[in-house]
């Protein structure tokens, strides 16, 4: 009896550690490899383990949907990054002015992050809808020529996703920048002020350059955020008008579950992963370099 008990005592921690660990490893490594494999097969509605080489990739890359999605990704990624960083930085600098009620402002600028993209998309869809939203309001106030109908404009609907995305994510950028601003050496700021630099100049010449690693972190996080965008676009534009605002994540979903082409969809998913790696791998190298440099300086 005691022998069994003791053996159980020894085995239990191993079980408790290794069962979830193995499940996680299968999930991270196994699932990824499986999707990569499927992307090289002719799978349609069900997995089919033949081999078609890169045919799914060339087929996906040749579709109009993917080409539009990739193009949209570049525009959306760039604009979203620019607008969100600019907003986040402005908010952080404003809050950094020792505002009374700082906590209240911070809470308000950050609350969108607690709301789901679906809610954000639906609500911004209403605000940007020319028939009932901002355009209607301004027209009602007397500017009868006012037009703000980007949401139903093929060439501009993508920027609606940028707006809603920036509204949701800029509080996050603000929080990171604010933490950076608060960590800047007070002596550095005093020295700049003694030299006669005004507040704007102090920010531009002294404070912002000294927090450049935060800019890189914000860029990387926002970019991977942009690459993964799915819910927001589905709720706001559904990829439309037509397919004007499709993004790579929507193409994956479309091929996998609407057209029932698992091989093609998986190839699109792998392409999405490659985009993500193109952002994250250089960042990992950068972090490593930073780490080594800090260790050497210490």
């Amino acid at each position: 009896m005691t022998g069994v008990r003791r053996r159980l005592d020894a085995a239990l921690p191993l079980l408790a550690i290794w069962v979830p660990v193995l499940i996680s490893i299968v999930y991270v490594v196994g699932f990824t490899l499986y999707t990569v494999w499927i992307s090289f097969t002719p799978s349609t509605l069900l997995p089919d383990y033949g081999w078609v080489g890169l045919r799914n990739y060339s087929a996906i890359l040749a579709t109009r949907n993917w080409q539009i999605a990739a193009n949209n990704m570049a525009i959306y990624g760039f604009c979203f990054l620019l607008l969100t960083t600019a907003l986040g930085l402005s908010l952080a600098v404003l809050i950094d002015q020792k505002l009374r009620g700082e906590n209240v402002f911070r809470t308000i600028f950050l609350y969108p992050l607690a709301v789901s993209f679906v809610v954000t998309g639906v609500v911004w869809g209403w605000l940007l809808n020319p028939g009932i939203g901002i355009q209607k309001l301004v027209v009602g106030l007397g500017w009868t020529d006012f037009r703000f109908d980007w949401l139903v404009d093929r060439d501009r609907a993508l920027y609606c996703i940028v707006l809603a995305g920036a509204w949701q994510a800029s509080g996050f950028a603000m929080a990171l920048f604010l933490a950076g601003l608060r960590s800047v050496d007070a002596d550095l700021m005093k020295a700049a002020q003694i030299d006669g630099a005004g507040p704007l100049r102090t920010y531009r010449r002294v404070i912002l350059p000294s927090i450049w690693p935060i800019f890189i972190a914000v860029f990387v996080i926002l970019l991977q955020f942009a690459i993964k965008t799915f819910d927001l676009a589905m709720a706001l534009t559904g990829g439309g008008p037509g397919i004007a605002t499709v993004l790579p994540s929507i193409v994956v979903y479309d091929f996998m579950f609407q057209r029932g082409l698992l091989g093609r969809g998986s190839a699109a998913a792998v392409l999405l992963l490659l985009m993500l790696l193109a952002v994250l791998l250089p960042y990992a190298v950068f972090r490593r370099w930073q780490h080594v440099r800090n260790a050497r300086n210490a």
């Binding site: 921690p13 490893i25 609350y111 789901s116 709720a235 994540s249």
Partner: protein, 280 residues
């Protein structure tokens, strides 16, 4: 100097109004009738308060073919989010402790691999999940979504907890081991009592993330088994011919309320998990 201060406050006030606008619009419209919204637009004050929208949204609204409101979808979301949050946090704490304090052969490799899961896009896991859920008979069920969110969540929770536990002096655990305390005894008696700060952060982020998730919800559940995020989009499609903005606003507000409530309650902890949590 004085005028700059005033300008700063003015600017912050304007920005505050812009950030609050969507929430305000939804809250006000949840009290207006659809006819009034059609006539005067989305942005405006209610002429007369109509609280009927909430009752309609809760139990009368038609989503796809079911005219039972969002009540059952809210219930699905709770039934999915609460167990998945608790289980993933528990396993994350256990693994975080095993990796940082108990230590075992290859623990850092295991940690590296598991946390890679934080960065992988959901799209890479859709096809394998289809097969796993089908083989387990969990397709189109809340149980399947719980499984997905627990497995996916372990990556985040392990990362959170491990990074917190490396701050606990290892001597504490070493001394306990010399005294003959086992893996679980140390976990319950030493590690968990030190954990509330990180567990609150983890629970808040898991709850928010799982509640707000959409892709898995719409892919692996259909009809009345869907969580409320998927139901909101299905609702928008259902009523696209004749939108019911008042009732829809009430539905949106109800669906957003749990995570907003958690955010207001635990804002400080929400901030602490920010960098790691936002990587999702």
């Amino acid at each position: 100097m004085r005028s700059t201060r005033i300008a700063v406050y003015l600017l912050v006030t304007v920005l505050t109004a812009i950030y609050l606008l969507p929430l305000l619009v939804v809250a006000l419209n949840s009290l207006r009738t659809t006819q009034e919204i059609f006539a005067n637009g989305m942005i405006g004050l209610p002429r007369a308060l109509s609280f009927g929208n909430f009752a309609d949204a809760w139990s009368g609204l038609c989503i796809a073919e079911h005219c039972t409101g969002i009540r059952s979808y809210m219930l699905n979301s709770f039934l999915m989010t609460l167990p998945a949050t608790i289980l993933s946090t528990f396993f994350g704490a256990l693994l975080g402790y095993a990796i940082s304090l108990w230590r075992f052969r290859g623990d850092l490799w295991v940690f590296g691999l598991i946390t890679l899961g934080v960065f992988l896009p959901e799209q890479m896991k859709l096809v394998p999940w289809v097969l796993v859920l089908r083989d387990l008979g969990l397709y189109n069920s809340v149980g399947g979504l719980i499984l997905i969110h627990v497995v996916q969540g372990i990556s985040f929770t392990t990362l959170f907890c491990r990074n917190y536990y490396i701050g606990i002096p290892p001597e504490l655990v070493k001394a306990a081991r010399i005294d003959g305390a086992g893996f679980f005894r140390i976990f319950w008696r030493i590690v968990l009592p030190l954990s509330p700060p990180i567990l609150i952060v983890t629970i808040i982020w898991q709850f928010t993330g799982i509640w707000n998730e959409y892709l898995y919800g719409v892919t692996f559940a259909s009809g009345e088994h869907q969580p409320v995020t998927a139901a909101l989009i299905a609702l928008a499609v259902t009523v696209s011919e004749a939108p019911q903005y008042g009732v829809q606003s009430a539905a949106v507000l109800i669906a957003a309320a749990p995570t907003l409530f958690v955010y207001l309650l635990g804002g400080k902890y929400f901030m602490r998990g920010l960098t790691a949590g936002a990587v999702k």
